[in-house]
């Protein structure tokens, strides 16, 4: 019978029950913290590293991002008359090294995070999906 603990009165369990009861009655700062995801979304931080976006005017197609990428996510492709990066997000680590390397500050990572898709091909984000124009008044 040596395994019986000294406080056989189960005070520990009662303490635990009190903690959970406090949550049931929501006493103190114990409110629901989760959100109903597809209907409600959390606010993202401004620095959030999501899908890439390329400033159409600033990008010079130099390919530094391509050579910086650790996982060969980026490929420089011709789009219209100019060269722009194309991102294979299926391989992307979202590490942000390409953003740091961009000499023109043309590349940034937007807050887009719902990137799941049905095929691997649709994960390749070509220039048509990542280019944006900087607002003039910005």
């Amino acid at each position: 019978m040596a395994w019986i603990s000294k406080d056989w009165a189960m005070t520990g369990i009662i303490k635990g029950l009190i903690v959970t009861m406090k949550h049931i009655l929501q006493i103190g700062n114990r409110k629901t913290v989760t959100v109903q995801y597809p209907y409600e979304r959390m606010k993202l931080a401004p620095r959030f590293r999501g899908r890439h976006a390329v400033d159409e005017d600033a990008c010079i197609g130099c390919g530094i991002c391509e050579s910086t990428c650790p996982n060969s996510t980026i490929r420089i492709v011709k789009y219209g008359t100019r060269w722009f990066p194309e991102f294979n997000l299926g391989m992307c680590l979202f590490c942000g090294l390409c953003v740091d390397a961009c000499p023109m500050n043309a590349l940034k990572m937007s807050g887009g995070y719902e990137l799941a898709d049905y095929t691997r091909e649709s994960l390749v984000y070509g220039p048509e999906r990542i280019l944006f124009k900087k607002e003039v008044n910005e």
Partner: protein
């Protein structure tokens, strides 16, 4: 039969239906119809079938509600929402789950014992349903007031581990087998204190009938303490509660499934409808066992009568409130505590609960013999 001229002491659901039919004045017409055919027994069969159907529907609805309640409780304790999308606050989630489980592929492992594997979930479910027969939901709301009701309940609950053993053995899976063996070991060591504490109550009542046990608990001591056996036998109540939770196989004593150790224990290999049967049985068992606790220790359906409402209904409400209080406690406990180890549980059962239960029985016998109560 209660035909209006004489009152029987312990009416059951059959009598209630007859009384209701009488009250609206159709019983004699129907009875006459069947008497003309010379097949009066058919009417009895129909009424019994109606009772069974009502019981089944009631149990199934309760089970659905309980599974929703359990998830919601969990969610509230854990600062989450829980099911929210299906119906008002996710109330129809169990129905969605049921439809999903119906649509699932029914897998039988190649090396499983097909017949026993298929049989086991039904045995579990039926054995749990049978427990409801002598359970008084309210005054005269009882399927059958067996003279040996309590013995019957204990005997029937001993069938559940056998069906679990069937399931575990037939699955031909090591986890299932271990879960089944654990379930049996656990049940053997907990049915004994369960029975002994129940007998301590029987010593006071002098009858095994559940209705008699409830009737014995009506009334008050000193005008305000209800004559529930929990006040007469607090030790017995605690032992019975622990034994019941172990019997139900819920945390902290859920070795038969113990998800983190044995994947899902005895129903690792089950899927689809068979899994749903186990699931239903689990919650039906929770409800049944809580009902038994209420019947034996918490005064069953007794309570103050309200004016203008038939006491059959009031007593049902009292019974449900008490049962849900017990269920709430079981769920609350599940939210809080971790699982005990199997050998620790057996230690608790054999080395502490059985001696204490015997002591409790001795005290009860002493009190009754000395004529204190």
């Amino acid at each position: 039969m209660w035909t209006g001229d004489k009152m029987i002491t312990n009416p059951n659901a059959y009598d209630l239906i007859v009384a209701i039919l009488n009250a609206i004045g159709v019983y004699n017409i129907i009875l006459g119809f069947f008497q003309d055919l010379g097949m009066e027994y058919i009417l009895r069969v129909i009424i019994v079938l109606v009772i069974i159907a009502v019981l089944l529907v009631f149990v199934l609805l309760t089970v659905m509600f309980l599974s929703w309640l359990e998830r919601k409780m969990f969610a509230v304790v854990q600062s989450r929402y829980g099911p929210m999308v299906t119906g008002p606050r996710g109330l129809f989630q169990p129905i969605a789950d049921g439809i999903k489980l119906l649509g699932k592929e029914d897998i039988i492992p190649a090396k499983a014992d097909r017949w026993i594997f298929t049989l086991a979930p039904f045995v579990v479910f039926v054995s749990v349903l049978l427990v409801f027969i002598p359970l008084p939901f309210g005054r005269s709301l009882i399927v059958s007031d067996l003279k040996v009701g309590l013995l019957y309940i204990i005997a029937i609950s001993a069938v559940t581990p056998i069906s679990i053993l069937l399931a575990g053995w037939a699955s031909n899976n090591k986890y299932s087998l271990m879960g089944a063996i654990r379930a049996v070991a656990q049940d053997i060591s907990y049915t004994i204190p369960l029975a002994i504490t129940a007998i301590a109550v029987v010593v006071f009542v002098g009858s095994l009938s559940t209705v008699d046990i409830v009737n014995a608990q009506s009334g008050y001591w000193f005008g305000f303490i209800p004559k529930w056996f929990i006040f007469l036998q607090p030790l017995g109540f605690i032992l019975f509660l622990i034994a019941c939770i172990a019997e139900m196989g819920r945390i902290p004593f859920d070795f038969q499934e113990s998800e983190q150790e044995l994947v899902a224990g005895f129903f690792t290999e089950y899927s689809g409808m068979k899994f749903a049967m186990f699931f239903l049985a689990e919650y039906a068992h929770l409800f049944a066992v809580s009902g038994i606790i209420v019947t034996i220790f918490l005064g069953g359906w007794t309570g103050p009568a309200l004016p203008f409402i038939p006491f059959e209904l009031t007593s049902l409400i009292y019974f449900m409130i008490k049962t849900y209080a017990v269920i709430f406690f079981a769920m609350w406990l599940r939210d809080t505590v971790p699982r005990v180890r199997i050998d620790q549980l057996l230690n608790l059962g054999w080395k502490i609960m059985i001696p204490l239960a015997l002591l409790n029985l001795l005290l009860a016998a002493f009190v009754v013999t000395a004529g204190v109560i």
